[in-house]
């Protein structure tokens, strides 16, 4: 039976169908989860997709983290369930305290929409189980606030615990230590700014994201 991936939809989310497309392309089943509900409905994994949840007012993710669905997602994550935050979803997961650090305005103050090359830094995460360390993947970014920042102590822990999942080969946004994606201590919650769900078919310019979404389904 196909594994089911819940895709959280807030007012202002705009990448939910891209995420469902990618999941189904890789043999899973996508199911939308409305933010105001408080039950993930027995899904095998959760994606918090990109967009502008609650308009990104105050700060990206600041209001979204209070949605009832985020309580259910936090419970699912605490039980070891795989949770992936993409772009705005990464911002939501940092605001919710499920991932360390924060996403700041890009250092060049430009909204960036372009392909980037990512280097896989660990295979021990729900996003990279299928991918050997050192693999380079072409995956697009599409953000204004993707400049990952954290204090020195947190950065040292992320390095020591092998929790930097992906790095940019050519840092586009000023992120500390070229970080594009990180995971939690349990390695079952991953956030990244690039959009693997938009790189699952050569027609989209790259199919390199498929192996990442496939890894998520393996972990589900």
């Amino acid at each position: 039976m196909a594994k089911t991936v819940g895709v959280v939809v807030f007012p202002g989310t705009n990448c939910e169908m891209d995420a469902v497309f990618a999941v189904e392309r890789m043999g899973g089943e996508g199911r939308l989860l409305w933010h105001a509900d408080d039950d993930i409905g027995g899904v095998d994994a959760v994606i918090v997709p990109g967009g502008f949840a609650h308009g990104d007012y105050l700060r990206p993710g600041a209001i979204a983290r209070f949605s009832p669905m985020m309580g259910a997602v936090a419970g699912f994550a605490a039980d070891g369930g795989p949770v992936l935050g993409i772009c705005n979803g990464f911002q939501v997961l940092t605001e919710a305290g499920l991932l360390p650090g924060a996403l700041q305005k890009n250092s060049g103050l430009k909204f960036l929409c372009q392909p980037t090359v990512l280097r896989v830094e660990t295979s021990a995460s729900i996003l990279t189980g299928r991918v050997p360390v050192g693999t380079e993947l072409s995956v697009p970014i599409n953000h204004f606030e993707g400049n990952y920042t954290c204090d020195d102590e947190t950065l040292a822990r992320l390095r020591d615990e092998d929790r930097i999942v992906l790095r940019y080969v050519d840092n586009p946004n000023g992120s500390v230590d070229d970080i594009a994606g990180v995971c939690n201590e349990g390695r079952n919650v991953v956030g990244l700014m690039p959009h693997p769900e938009r790189a699952c078919d050569e027609l989209l310019g790259s199919a390199d994201g498929a192996v990442l979404i496939g890894s998520l389904l393996d972990a589900a």
């Binding site: 600041a62 305005k105 890009n106 250092s107 400049n147 920042t149």
Partner: protein, 87 residues
Amino acid sequence: MEFDVLVDVRLRGGIADPAGATIERALPALGFDGVSGVSVGKTVRFTIAAADVGEATTLAEDLCASFLTNPVIEDASVSVSPVGGSA
């Protein structure tokens, strides 16, 4: 009683401020010399019901810590005054 609250949100020291840096770099070209230390934050104003200034301040500070700021990157200072002005 009701109290006017003004919250001044700033980036913490050591956190890059690309907006502030860009404004500072632009100033000499606009003829403003000698300006330094530019930083960009935000201000949030609201009215809060509380028994006294102390309670209003505590409520506002809790609101700051849990919602209005992200303590990873931001600090805030809170000013509280009775609605209508006179203390």
